[in-house]
Symmetry: C2
Protein backbone atom coordinates (compact mmCIF):
# COMPACT_ATOMS: atom_id res chain seq x y z
CA UNK A 1 0.00 0.00 0.00
CA UNK A 2 1.38 3.30 -1.15
CA UNK A 3 0.42 6.41 0.79
CA UNK A 4 1.55 9.09 -1.63
CA UNK A 5 -0.72 12.05 -1.16
CA UNK A 6 -1.88 14.77 -3.55
CA UNK A 7 -1.68 18.01 -1.58
CA UNK A 8 -2.80 21.53 -2.37
CA UNK A 9 -0.51 24.10 -0.74
CA UNK A 10 -1.65 27.62 -1.49
CA UNK A 11 -2.24 31.06 0.03
CA UNK A 12 -5.43 33.07 -0.28
CA UNK A 13 -7.16 36.05 1.27
CA UNK A 14 -9.87 35.55 3.91
CA UNK A 15 -12.42 36.10 1.15
CA UNK A 16 -10.88 33.33 -0.94
CA UNK A 17 -8.89 35.08 -3.64
CA UNK A 18 -5.50 33.79 -4.76
CA UNK A 19 -4.77 36.97 -6.72
CA UNK A 20 -6.21 40.38 -7.47
CA UNK A 21 -7.13 41.10 -11.10
CA UNK A 22 -4.26 40.90 -13.61
CA UNK A 23 -2.42 38.27 -11.54
CA UNK A 24 -1.56 40.87 -8.91
CA UNK A 25 -0.02 39.00 -5.96
CA UNK A 26 1.09 42.06 -4.02
CA UNK A 27 -1.18 41.18 -1.07
CA UNK A 28 1.36 38.48 -0.24
CA UNK A 29 4.18 41.00 0.21
CA UNK A 30 3.05 41.99 3.71
CA UNK A 31 3.55 38.37 4.78
CA UNK A 32 7.26 38.30 4.01
CA UNK A 33 9.34 37.95 7.13
CA UNK A 34 12.99 37.03 7.40
CA UNK A 35 13.46 33.49 8.62
CA UNK A 36 9.76 32.57 8.23
CA UNK A 37 8.85 30.22 5.39
CA UNK A 38 5.40 29.26 6.78
CA UNK A 39 6.32 25.58 6.80
CA UNK A 40 7.10 25.48 3.09
CA UNK A 41 10.59 23.97 3.55
CA UNK A 42 9.27 21.04 5.56
CA UNK A 43 6.39 20.58 3.15
CA UNK A 44 8.48 20.56 -0.02
CA UNK A 45 11.01 18.09 1.42
CA UNK A 46 8.26 15.46 1.37
CA UNK A 47 7.37 16.20 -2.27
CA UNK A 48 8.95 14.68 -5.38
CA UNK A 49 6.26 15.45 -7.98
CA UNK A 50 4.42 18.63 -8.91
CA UNK A 51 1.21 19.21 -10.84
CA UNK A 52 0.68 22.74 -12.13
CA UNK A 53 -1.71 24.34 -14.60
CA UNK A 54 -0.27 25.65 -17.84
CA UNK A 55 -1.35 29.25 -17.24
CA UNK A 56 0.30 29.36 -13.82
CA UNK A 57 3.45 27.72 -15.17
CA UNK A 58 3.57 30.17 -18.06
CA UNK A 59 3.06 33.09 -15.67
CA UNK A 60 6.20 32.10 -13.74
CA UNK A 61 8.18 31.84 -16.99
CA UNK A 62 6.78 35.18 -18.22
CA UNK A 63 8.06 36.88 -15.07
CA UNK A 64 11.54 35.98 -16.32
CA UNK A 65 12.06 33.13 -13.84
CA UNK A 66 12.95 29.55 -14.46
CA UNK A 67 10.44 27.20 -12.91
CA UNK A 68 12.18 25.93 -9.76
CA UNK A 69 12.11 22.32 -8.51
CA UNK A 70 14.68 20.89 -10.92
CA UNK A 71 14.94 17.85 -8.68
CA UNK A 72 11.24 16.99 -9.01
CA UNK A 73 9.00 15.57 -11.72
CA UNK A 74 6.81 18.41 -12.92
CA UNK A 75 3.55 17.84 -14.83
CA UNK A 76 2.26 20.93 -16.60
CA UNK A 77 -1.40 20.35 -17.46
CA UNK A 78 -2.01 21.71 -20.96
CA UNK A 79 -4.60 21.36 -23.69
CA UNK A 80 -1.92 20.50 -26.23
CA UNK A 81 0.86 18.16 -25.16
CA UNK A 82 4.47 18.62 -26.20
CA UNK A 83 7.67 16.64 -25.65
CA UNK A 84 9.26 16.46 -22.22
CA UNK A 85 11.96 19.05 -21.52
CA UNK A 86 14.34 18.02 -18.74
CA UNK A 87 12.10 17.43 -15.70
CA UNK A 88 9.06 19.16 -17.25
CA UNK A 89 6.31 16.91 -18.62
CA UNK A 90 3.57 18.58 -20.67
CA UNK A 91 0.45 16.55 -20.03
CA UNK A 92 -2.70 16.89 -22.15
CA UNK A 93 -4.52 13.77 -20.96
CA UNK A 94 -7.03 13.00 -18.24
CA UNK A 95 -5.85 14.31 -14.85
CA UNK A 96 -7.63 11.49 -13.07
CA UNK A 97 -5.50 8.96 -14.95
CA UNK A 98 -2.37 10.99 -14.25
CA UNK A 99 -3.00 11.10 -10.50
CA UNK A 100 -3.93 7.39 -10.42
CA UNK A 101 -0.79 6.37 -12.27
CA UNK A 102 1.39 8.57 -10.05
CA UNK A 103 -0.15 7.08 -6.93
CA UNK A 104 0.49 3.55 -8.17
CA UNK A 105 4.20 4.29 -8.26
CA UNK A 106 6.40 4.50 -5.21
CA UNK A 107 7.29 8.04 -4.28
CA UNK A 108 6.88 10.97 -2.00
CA UNK A 109 3.95 13.42 -2.05
CA UNK A 110 2.51 15.21 -5.07
CA UNK A 111 2.17 18.97 -4.73
CA UNK A 112 -0.47 20.90 -6.63
CA UNK A 113 1.03 24.34 -7.28
CA UNK A 114 -2.21 25.89 -8.71
CA UNK A 115 -3.77 27.74 -10.38
CA UNK A 116 -7.48 27.89 -9.74
CA UNK A 117 -8.46 26.04 -12.93
CA UNK A 118 -6.44 22.93 -12.14
CA UNK A 119 -7.42 23.07 -8.45
CA UNK A 120 -11.08 23.01 -9.40
CA UNK A 121 -10.54 20.21 -11.88
CA UNK A 122 -8.88 18.11 -9.17
CA UNK A 123 -11.65 18.97 -6.67
CA UNK A 124 -14.27 17.92 -9.19
CA UNK A 125 -12.62 14.51 -9.48
CA UNK A 126 -12.16 14.30 -5.68
CA UNK A 127 -8.45 13.68 -6.15
CA UNK A 128 -6.98 15.72 -3.31
CA UNK A 129 -5.89 14.00 -0.12
CA UNK A 130 -4.92 17.12 1.80
CA UNK A 131 -5.49 20.86 1.58
CA UNK A 132 -3.02 23.30 3.17
CA UNK A 133 -4.51 26.78 2.89
CA UNK A 134 -2.63 29.78 4.24
CA UNK A 135 -5.18 32.49 4.98
CA UNK A 136 -3.68 35.96 4.55
CA UNK A 137 -5.25 38.61 6.81
CA UNK A 138 -6.89 40.75 4.15
CA UNK A 139 -10.13 40.86 2.18
CA UNK A 140 -9.51 41.72 -1.46
CA UNK A 141 -13.01 42.09 -2.87
CA UNK A 142 -12.06 41.02 -6.39
CA UNK A 143 -9.70 38.78 -8.32
CA UNK A 144 -9.26 35.08 -8.99
CA UNK A 145 -11.13 32.84 -6.58
CA UNK A 146 -9.45 29.72 -5.24
CA UNK A 147 -12.74 27.83 -5.06
CA UNK A 148 -15.25 27.85 -7.86
CA UNK A 149 -18.62 26.12 -8.01
CA UNK A 150 -19.48 22.67 -9.16
CA UNK A 151 -17.50 20.04 -7.35
CA UNK A 152 -18.99 17.54 -4.94
CA UNK A 153 -19.28 18.23 -1.21
CA UNK A 154 -16.29 16.78 0.65
CA UNK A 155 -15.90 16.47 4.41
CA UNK A 156 -12.60 17.58 5.89
CA UNK A 157 -10.71 16.56 8.97
CA UNK A 158 -8.73 19.39 10.56
CA UNK A 159 -5.11 18.35 11.03
CA UNK A 160 -3.84 21.68 12.34
CA UNK A 161 -4.47 25.42 12.45
CA UNK A 162 -1.30 27.41 12.96
CA UNK A 163 -1.09 31.18 13.47
CA UNK A 164 1.96 33.21 12.51
CA UNK A 165 3.27 36.61 13.67
CA UNK A 166 2.03 38.50 10.65
CA UNK A 167 -1.51 37.23 11.13
CA UNK A 168 -1.42 34.43 8.58
CA UNK A 169 -3.34 31.31 9.64
CA UNK A 170 -2.37 28.05 8.00
CA UNK A 171 -5.20 25.53 7.91
CA UNK A 172 -4.31 21.93 7.15
CA UNK A 173 -7.04 19.41 6.36
CA UNK A 174 -7.29 15.80 5.34
CA UNK A 175 -10.08 15.12 2.86
CA UNK A 176 -12.38 12.32 4.00
CA UNK A 177 -12.96 10.54 0.71
CA UNK B 1 -15.21 58.34 22.70
CA UNK B 2 -17.55 55.44 22.12
CA UNK B 3 -16.02 52.12 21.08
CA UNK B 4 -19.14 50.26 20.03
CA UNK B 5 -18.13 47.84 17.32
CA UNK B 6 -20.04 46.40 14.38
CA UNK B 7 -19.14 42.71 14.31
CA UNK B 8 -19.90 39.96 11.83
CA UNK B 9 -20.28 36.59 13.56
CA UNK B 10 -20.99 33.83 11.08
CA UNK B 11 -20.08 30.28 10.07
CA UNK B 12 -19.05 29.17 6.61
CA UNK B 13 -17.47 26.24 4.84
CA UNK B 14 -13.75 26.32 3.93
CA UNK B 15 -14.81 27.26 0.41
CA UNK B 16 -16.77 30.22 1.72
CA UNK B 17 -20.42 29.15 1.56
CA UNK B 18 -22.88 30.06 4.31
CA UNK B 19 -25.49 27.67 2.95
CA UNK B 20 -26.04 25.08 0.25
CA UNK B 21 -28.71 25.83 -2.37
CA UNK B 22 -32.26 26.31 -1.02
CA UNK B 23 -30.99 27.66 2.31
CA UNK B 24 -29.77 24.20 3.30
CA UNK B 25 -27.76 24.61 6.51
CA UNK B 26 -27.35 20.90 7.24
CA UNK B 27 -23.55 21.16 6.98
CA UNK B 28 -23.65 22.85 10.38
CA UNK B 29 -25.26 19.81 12.04
CA UNK B 30 -21.95 17.94 12.32
CA UNK B 31 -20.61 20.80 14.45
CA UNK B 32 -23.19 20.39 17.19
CA UNK B 33 -21.65 19.23 20.42
CA UNK B 34 -23.15 19.27 23.87
CA UNK B 35 -21.71 22.01 26.02
CA UNK B 36 -19.92 23.71 23.13
CA UNK B 37 -21.32 27.03 21.92
CA UNK B 38 -18.19 28.11 20.00
CA UNK B 39 -17.91 31.30 22.03
CA UNK B 40 -21.38 32.52 21.09
CA UNK B 41 -22.53 33.05 24.69
CA UNK B 42 -19.59 35.32 25.48
CA UNK B 43 -19.97 37.12 22.18
CA UNK B 44 -23.71 37.82 22.53
CA UNK B 45 -23.36 39.11 26.10
CA UNK B 46 -21.43 42.08 24.71
CA UNK B 47 -24.12 42.83 22.11
CA UNK B 48 -27.24 44.98 22.56
CA UNK B 49 -28.13 45.68 18.92
CA UNK B 50 -28.54 43.44 15.88
CA UNK B 51 -28.57 44.20 12.17
CA UNK B 52 -30.05 41.49 9.95
CA UNK B 53 -31.14 41.37 6.32
CA UNK B 54 -34.84 40.99 5.63
CA UNK B 55 -34.47 37.68 3.77
CA UNK B 56 -32.53 36.08 6.61
CA UNK B 57 -34.99 37.44 9.18
CA UNK B 58 -37.93 36.16 7.15
CA UNK B 59 -36.24 32.76 6.78
CA UNK B 60 -36.12 32.39 10.58
CA UNK B 61 -39.79 33.34 10.87
CA UNK B 62 -40.74 30.98 8.02
CA UNK B 63 -39.12 28.09 9.89
CA UNK B 64 -41.80 28.67 12.51
CA UNK B 65 -39.48 30.30 15.03
CA UNK B 66 -39.74 33.63 16.72
CA UNK B 67 -36.69 35.75 16.14
CA UNK B 68 -34.77 35.50 19.43
CA UNK B 69 -32.98 38.40 21.17
CA UNK B 70 -36.07 40.04 22.69
CA UNK B 71 -33.73 42.01 24.96
CA UNK B 72 -31.90 43.65 22.05
CA UNK B 73 -32.69 46.32 19.47
CA UNK B 74 -33.08 44.54 16.15
CA UNK B 75 -32.83 46.36 12.81
CA UNK B 76 -34.22 44.38 9.89
CA UNK B 77 -32.89 45.95 6.68
CA UNK B 78 -35.74 46.03 4.16
CA UNK B 79 -36.57 47.80 0.94
CA UNK B 80 -39.92 48.91 2.29
CA UNK B 81 -40.04 50.16 5.88
CA UNK B 82 -42.90 49.38 8.25
CA UNK B 83 -43.73 50.38 11.81
CA UNK B 84 -41.70 49.06 14.71
CA UNK B 85 -43.03 45.89 16.36
CA UNK B 86 -41.78 45.41 19.92
CA UNK B 87 -37.98 45.36 19.64
CA UNK B 88 -37.99 44.90 15.84
CA UNK B 89 -37.24 47.98 13.72
CA UNK B 90 -37.82 47.68 9.97
CA UNK B 91 -35.25 49.95 8.39
CA UNK B 92 -35.42 50.99 4.73
CA UNK B 93 -32.86 53.81 4.82
CA UNK B 94 -29.13 54.08 4.21
CA UNK B 95 -27.20 51.46 6.24
CA UNK B 96 -24.25 53.81 6.54
CA UNK B 97 -26.44 56.35 8.33
CA UNK B 98 -27.91 53.63 10.53
CA UNK B 99 -24.50 52.38 11.63
CA UNK B 100 -23.19 55.93 12.17
CA UNK B 101 -26.17 56.89 14.30
CA UNK B 102 -25.92 53.67 16.34
CA UNK B 103 -22.23 54.27 16.94
CA UNK B 104 -22.89 57.82 18.13
CA UNK B 105 -25.07 56.45 20.91
CA UNK B 106 -23.75 54.77 24.03
CA UNK B 107 -24.15 51.03 23.96
CA UNK B 108 -22.61 47.62 23.61
CA UNK B 109 -21.59 45.98 20.34
CA UNK B 110 -23.68 45.65 17.19
CA UNK B 111 -23.98 42.14 15.77
CA UNK B 112 -24.53 41.54 12.07
CA UNK B 113 -26.52 38.31 11.83
CA UNK B 114 -26.31 38.04 7.99
CA UNK B 115 -27.22 37.22 5.33
CA UNK B 116 -24.76 37.59 2.48
CA UNK B 117 -26.55 40.57 0.91
CA UNK B 118 -26.35 42.75 4.00
CA UNK B 119 -22.80 41.53 4.78
CA UNK B 120 -21.64 42.65 1.34
CA UNK B 121 -23.45 45.98 1.65
CA UNK B 122 -21.67 46.63 4.95
CA UNK B 123 -18.31 45.54 3.47
CA UNK B 124 -18.81 47.88 0.54
CA UNK B 125 -19.24 50.79 2.94
CA UNK B 126 -16.31 49.58 5.11
CA UNK B 127 -18.53 49.59 8.17
CA UNK B 128 -17.34 46.44 9.95
CA UNK B 129 -14.93 46.71 12.84
CA UNK B 130 -14.48 42.99 13.43
CA UNK B 131 -15.09 39.74 11.59
CA UNK B 132 -15.56 36.47 13.49
CA UNK B 133 -15.68 33.67 10.94
CA UNK B 134 -16.15 30.08 12.05
CA UNK B 135 -14.72 27.83 9.34
CA UNK B 136 -16.56 24.51 9.20
CA UNK B 137 -14.39 21.60 7.99
CA UNK B 138 -16.14 20.89 4.71
CA UNK B 139 -16.09 22.10 1.14
CA UNK B 140 -19.60 22.43 -0.27
CA UNK B 141 -19.00 23.27 -3.92
CA UNK B 142 -22.20 25.26 -4.33
CA UNK B 143 -24.58 27.53 -2.46
CA UNK B 144 -24.64 31.07 -1.13
CA UNK B 145 -21.23 32.67 -0.83
CA UNK B 146 -20.39 34.74 2.23
CA UNK B 147 -18.15 37.06 0.23
CA UNK B 148 -19.14 38.49 -3.10
CA UNK B 149 -17.16 40.79 -5.36
CA UNK B 150 -16.97 44.52 -5.40
CA UNK B 151 -16.02 45.94 -2.04
CA UNK B 152 -12.73 47.70 -1.35
CA UNK B 153 -9.65 45.82 -0.16
CA UNK B 154 -9.38 45.93 3.64
CA UNK B 155 -6.42 44.86 5.73
CA UNK B 156 -7.14 42.68 8.73
CA UNK B 157 -5.38 42.19 12.01
CA UNK B 158 -5.67 38.66 13.38
CA UNK B 159 -6.98 38.74 16.95
CA UNK B 160 -7.23 34.98 17.42
CA UNK B 161 -7.53 31.62 15.67
CA UNK B 162 -9.17 29.00 17.84
CA UNK B 163 -9.60 25.33 16.95
CA UNK B 164 -12.39 23.19 18.35
CA UNK B 165 -12.78 19.42 18.79
CA UNK B 166 -15.02 18.95 15.76
CA UNK B 167 -12.50 20.66 13.48
CA UNK B 168 -14.11 24.09 13.39
CA UNK B 169 -11.60 26.95 13.35
CA UNK B 170 -12.84 30.33 14.54
CA UNK B 171 -10.93 33.23 13.02
CA UNK B 172 -11.31 36.63 14.66
CA UNK B 173 -10.02 39.75 12.90
CA UNK B 174 -10.03 43.48 13.51
CA UNK B 175 -10.49 45.47 10.31
CA UNK B 176 -7.80 48.11 9.90
CA UNK B 177 -9.88 51.00 8.56
Amino acid sequence: MNDRKLILYIACSLDGYISKPNDDLSFLDRMQQEGEDYGYGDFITDVDTIIIGHKTYQWVIDQGFEYPHHDKDVYVITRTGKPKENNINYYAGDVKKLVSSLKEKEGRNIYCDGGAEIVNLLLKEKLFDELIISVVPVILGEGTRLFNDNYPEQNLELISATSFDKGMVQLRYKIEN
